[in-house]
């Protein structure tokens, strides 16, 4: 993962005088998305040649990615480029706001690019066309190979300026790629950009792998593997490819996740028919037993401050969600609705827990407050589970499986996302079938 170097970070205008400028409300389903014009970034003709395509096309390609990111939020309506009157280079210097207002654009994005000596310098501006004002101007430099990330960073900065919350476009998703018949699925760890591009496979598919999750810096992944028919939790360094078993347990370990400081892995260990929750410190290797109950305790997830753990247990007779202090004391059941509750995942904002609910043979993804109150079911389907949060806590990604016929045909597993408003349900593009998604944090902060 190459770090992007921000050479300059200029907020030329808008920060102090933001009162009265456009604002997008993301706390509700947005039925009236903001019309935004993304002018193709002007490519400086002095630019060097690129390997992937003609350098002159780069500006347009980047603007298309920005548009696609905006469209995916459901909050913005990127306008068609055919209607644009002003040329990109002129618009970036001084937009003729009447022209943009004429096509009903309320916000305008302009920019330019220079590729020189294996450096890509991008500069962009966000304009409020109604107020005829610049809202944001930013410039940064990276390598040309990172050109898609340039588009994602621009998207994040604009999203942040317009919504007041951090974005989630310069992120990756790790998931399990699936191929083959339902009874003998071949599963590999796969990594892709949030928009489905740059897919990389991290394992070969020789053994079953499940439930990968990022650490807070996105360098490490913890997951479960059946390597040598010993189902265990593993730790993988994405850059070096080095992997190791987590701990020295005499039986199956599963359902791993990192603590919010990245120092521990929390997981379940199953022995003699009983699964309890354990944590292991990655530096000291000290293992702590956190739950001690003859029922199944699994799917643990820390609160973002590290003080609490949510998990599911069938100690009441059926699978329900519980919250306890991170030392295992003060266990409290928080779900009491009809049906089963599982896979609790604490929001990065700390205010909500996302979960899977099963009721009358149907599967729901929902959110609730951390004490179990205010349950909202966002989506219902034949089978779906395992929500993972976008880094800003506004979107959930999960996987969905289809019903098969009497011969087991028609099976598929796909990644989907939905806003916590319950709006904007979308299927994600993946090269193969996919499950167990985990969303990274922002790659550049």
């Amino acid at each position: 993962m190459k770090k992007i170097f921000f050479i300059l970070l200029l907020f030329i205008a808008g920060i102090k005088n933001s009162y009265g400028l456009i604002k997008v409300d993301i706390t509700r389903g947005n039925l009236d998305p903001l019309p935004i014009a993304v002018s193709p970034l002007y490519v400086d003709p002095k630019s060097d040649k690129l390997e992937i395509f003609k350098t002159a096309k780069l500006g347009e390609e980047i603007s298309k990615i920005v548009e696609s990111n905006f469209k995916s939020t459901g909050l913005f309506n990127p306008l068609k480029k055919e209607s644009f009157v002003q040329k990109p280079d002129i618009a970036h210097l001084k937009p003729r706001f009447e022209d943009w207002r004429l096509i009903k654009a309320q916000a305008l994005v302009t920019g330019n690019i220079l590729v020189k000596e294996n450096q890509l310098k991008a500069e962009f501006r966000l304009w409020d066309t109604t107020a005829s004002k610049e809202m944001l101007a930013l410039s940064f430099t990276t390598t040309p190979a990172n050109w898609r990330r340039v588009a994602h960073i621009i998207s994040d900065k604009i999203y942040e300026r317009l919504t007041g919350e951090s974005g989630y476009f310069d992120t990756r998703i790790i998931y399990v790629s699936e191929t083959g018949p339902k009874g003998q699925r071949i599963k590999k760890l796969a990594l892709m950009d949030q928009d489905g591009f740059n897919t990389k496979y991290l394992t070969l598919g020789n053994e079953l792998v499940l439930t990968p999750r990022f650490n807070p810096t996105n360098q490490l992944v913890t997951y479960m593997s059946y390597f040598k028919n010993m189902p265990r939790v593993y730790l993988l360094d994405i850059e070096t490819g080095v992997q190791e078993v987590v701990g020295n347990f005499p039986g199956m370990t599963f359902a791993p996740r990192f603590s919010p400081d990245g120092k521990k892995i929390i997981m379940s260990f199953a022995q003699d028919g009983n699964s309890d929750i354990y944590s292991m410190d990655l530096n000291t290797r000290v293992v702590e037993k956190i739950t001690n109950h003859p029922s199944i305790d699994t799917s643990p997830s820390y609160s973002p401050d590290g003080k609490y753990i949510a998990f599911n247990s069938d100690r009441s007779g059926i699978q329900q969600i519980y919250v306890m202090r991170s030392d295992g004391t003060g266990v409290k059941r928080v779900t009491f609705g009809t049906g089963l509750y599982g896979t609790p995942v604490w929001s990065p904002r700390g205010d909500l827990i996302a979960f899977t609910k099963v009721r009358k043979g149907r599967f729901y993804i929902g959110v609730m407050r951390t004490d179990g109150s205010g349950e909202r079911l966002l989506t219902e389907n034949f089978y779906q589970e395992a929500p993972s949060w976008s880094p800003n806590g506004r979107v959930l990604i999960f996987y969905r499986e289809t019903k098969t016929d009497s011969k087991g045909k028609g099976f598929s597993a796909k990644l989907w996302s939905i806003d916590i408003t319950g709006y904007n349900e979308r299927k994600l593009k993946t090269e193969t079938d996919a499950s167990d998604p985990s969303w990274s944090s922002l790659l550049s902060k």
Partner: protein, 147 residues
């Protein structure tokens, strides 16, 4: 998941007896293989349960008898769940089922050292169909020769 009983009854009335279920537990022989003549390799469970039915105990006693006669054989008991639960919970449930079978074999004199367990959760269905009958075939523990 809890209300499969009614669906199961309708499956029984249309299907042959050998592929039916009783009280949510598969009673047929469709997916069953044999460790030796008259020694079925698997037992079946009710939804979210790991308790052994009378039929399951009967099968496991046959396995124990066979294991006593074949002292050099070691086995792996694979625990499985149907596709109607969350993945992680199903891994735990499969482990619990495999251990229920192992414990029963041990009460009939088979050393725990000869029996290893592994859970596959919902990952390896014996019948890939999405029907209550297929689910009942997949809620199972399977004893396989390990050497």
């Amino acid at each position: 998941m809890v209300l499969l009983g009614t669906l199961v009854l309708s499956a029984c009335s249309t299907a042959k007896k050998s592929v039916g279920t009783m009280n949510d537990v598969y009673t047929g022989t469709e997916t069953v293989e044999y460790l030796a003549k008259g020694v079925p390799d698997r037992v079946f469970f009710a939804t979210n349960k790991s308790s052994l039915t009378t039929a399951a105990r009967d099968t496991l006693r046959k396995q124990a008898t066979w294991l006593r006669k074949n002292k050099n054989i070691t086995v792996t008991v694979e625990g499985h769940a149907d596709e109607r639960g969350t993945r992680e919970y199903n891994l735990a449930l499969g482990e619990r089922r495999a251990n229920a079978a192992k414990d029963y074999l041990m009460t009939y004199g088979i050393s725990g050292k000869r029996i290893s367990v592994i859970s596959y959760g919902k990952e390896r269905p014996a019948n890939p169909a999405s029907s209550p009958l297929a689910y009942s075939m997949n809620r199972r523990s399977v004893t396989v020769k390990a050497n």
